[in-house]
Amino acid sequence: MSELDLNDKVSEMLAKSEANVIKSEKTFIHPEDEVREVVAPDGSIIKINPIYDYFSGERPQEEKPRGGIVEKFLNWARSESIWVLGFGTGCGSIEIPPLVTPRFDMFRFGIQMRPTPRQSNAFIISGYLSVKTLKRVIRTYEQMPAPKYVIALGSCTINGGMYYDSYSTINRLDKYIPVDVYIAGCMPRPEALIAGFVKLKELIKEGKAEKANEYARNFDEYKANQKKIIKDWSMPDYNW
């Protein structure tokens, strides 16, 4: 692809993103995210709106699987190479170290840990989620490239578990982000986690793990649920 084509493509994408910007009413904005005027090094004054200038406000698009033998092959590759984001959201993350060490060695199954959301395609929600973490989880989840999978660990993600009456933790994860595999228990053993991964692999191979598209399809519903509890939103509606 020549540079000219790329240029065209980029400007096209930018135009599209400006058209699709989601307008939403903010009730609470961090001082850092407020619209402000900044003096540039050359003396000119620039007006910046951090939330919309630094991020793209485009809605997620549904990306249909290609189908056919190519998709089957890619699904096989996806199932054999699951890159888990290294983000321990709850106390279940104490069982992640045993998984990457000699006893339970999950590298055998092609499961690896990645440090950044851009490069990972599976997200382990390890246990309870406080509202403060949920905000980060949503942001991280939206940054992950599709197809992406969510594994929810522990009873807390299913019905709130031990913290069903807590003012700080959510009860059901699947109201906020789509979940592929639930692993029950408090705390689930590493073997249970491996079983969950094997289940996820089966789903991917069968082409059933298309929850990222479901998120795009029901985007408004998920957003409404998320915004209901995250009062301190202060971020774009979709974080690319």
């Binding site: 709850g90 106390c91 045993p98 406080s130 991280t140 913290y163």
Partner: protein, 398 residues
């Protein structure tokens, strides 16, 4: 060094100020500083917390710890649970060493309801065994974990494997891997299984080997020394100022150990001397923890030798379903792997606790102390300092 060698002296006034203190004024609009976030989505952060750093080049000018990502509101939840219901909830306050919470809750309720002396001797020995095993599994993760902060991952791999073996013993003893719920008010929940001591001894022999290996791997390693010596220094006069406890205090020469100062259970019957160091840097703290690893193995052996062969494991307690405790308050503490770990417990005569306040060592270490230690440090050292002060977010925010 090269400057000294060449006899070249730069004009001090022209260089940027090298000494950064907590009072340095930072003007973000001057374009000299950058704000970066470390965590919560960052593999280098212990648990789930974040640090907001204001950096100039590689030097940190200001740091702010943000916690609350793991807030579950235990102290509120327990106010609406019976004493016995609150028990399984509250032990989840700290995942790294959950047994310490069990003991604190059990001990507080026993003390306030007047059953403090009713616990059988054998049960107390079992409690000690469980607490020391918890300390051991914490240290097996923590000591090589300090090497892990400098990318010495091999030690972590070996350590976590051995920790799994200790968790197996826990599973035998209590039926659970991580959250044991073993120490209950009035005693413990189960007896030692057949052949437990023999299998434990086998594991301890393996851990002994590991201790020697980790010494060669970490403390005789030049790169580890280069990075850890002189990093994140805690001076003895900071100890009282910041409320530093445990190995962090012992590594700078202040010998404070609850097991010695206010002996609980039968720690006064055991023969041990908490290790200390004088330097107070990351290396000294790791060294003290490594010595404590040896000591914990020794303590478990002593406990298994000295404990009676058998006995009652539980005292007769009132019916837990309508157990009411008269109005009172107490503070119970123990020495966890991270230092003094205490609980302020208030009852008001009803069947539910009035207020529980956990005093975790990380509360001081990971916020007030950590923020001040980071000023002037290198961005690459944040993770090492964070692990070396043993910050454990779940016990900060509960």
């Amino acid at each position: 060094m090269i400057n000294k060698f060449l006899g070249f002296k730069p004009d001090e006034k022209l260089l940027p100020s090298q000494t950064v203190t907590t009072d340095t004024v930072i003007d973000l609009s001057s374009h000299k500083y950058q704000k970066i976030w470390l965590g919560p989505n960052h593999p280098g952060v212990t648990g789930n917390m974040s640090v907001e750093l204001t950096v100039q080049g590689n030097t940190i000018m200001k740091a702010k710890t943000h916690v609350g990502y793991l807030h579950r509101g235990f102290e509120k939840l327990i106010e609406r649970r019976l004493f016995v219901q609150g028990f399984p909830t509250s032990i989840r306050m700290c995942v790294a060493e959950p047994d310490t919470n069990e003991y604190l809750i059990a001990r507080s309720t026993e003390e306030l309801s007047g059953y403090a002396d009713a616990v059988p001797e054998y049960a107390n020995w079992l409690r000690m065994l469980s607490l020391e095993m918890a300390r051991l599994q914490g240290l097996l993760r923590g000591v090589p974990g300090q090497g892990g902060t400098f990318a010495l991952g091999i030690g972590v791999q070996w350590g976590v494997y051995l920790r799994d073996l200790i968790l197996d013993r826990f599973e035998e003893l209590t039926g659970a891997r991580v959250y044991h719920m073993y120490i209950i008010p009035g005693g413990v929940r189960g007896n030692l299984p057949e052949g437990f001591k023999k299998r434990m001894e086998e594991n301890l022999v393996e851990i002994d080997e590991f201790i020697i290996r980790i010494k060669k791997l970490m403390f005789h390693n030049s790169v580890f020394k280069t990075r850890a010596v002189g990093l994140g220094i805690i001076t003895p006069d900071m100890v009282d100022k910041y409320g530093i406890v445990g190995t962090n205090a012992r590594a700078c020469g202040v010998k404070r150990d609850v097991r010695k100062d206010n002996p609980y259970l039968y720690y006064d019957k055991l023969d041990f001397d908490p290790p200390t160091a004088t330097e107070g840097d990351v290396y000294a703290r790791t060294w003290v923890r490594w010595q404590e690893l040896i000591q914990t193995v020794d303590l478990i052996r002593q406990i298994m030798d000295k404990m009676p062969e058998t006995g009652d494991i539980r005292a007769k307690m009132p019916n837990v379903l309508n157990w009411k405790i008269a109005k009172g308050e107490t503070y119970v503490r123990l020495e966890s792997g991270r230092g003094e770990y205490g609980m302020y417990y208030v009852t008001d005569g009803s069947d539910k606790p009035r207020r529980i306040n956990l005093r975790g060592p990380s509360y001081n270490h990971a916020i007030a102390l950590f923020e001040d230690m980071l000023v002037g440090a290198d961005v690459a050292d944040v993770h090492a300092i964070m692990v070396s002060v043993q910050s454990c977010p779940p016990e900060i925010e509960r």
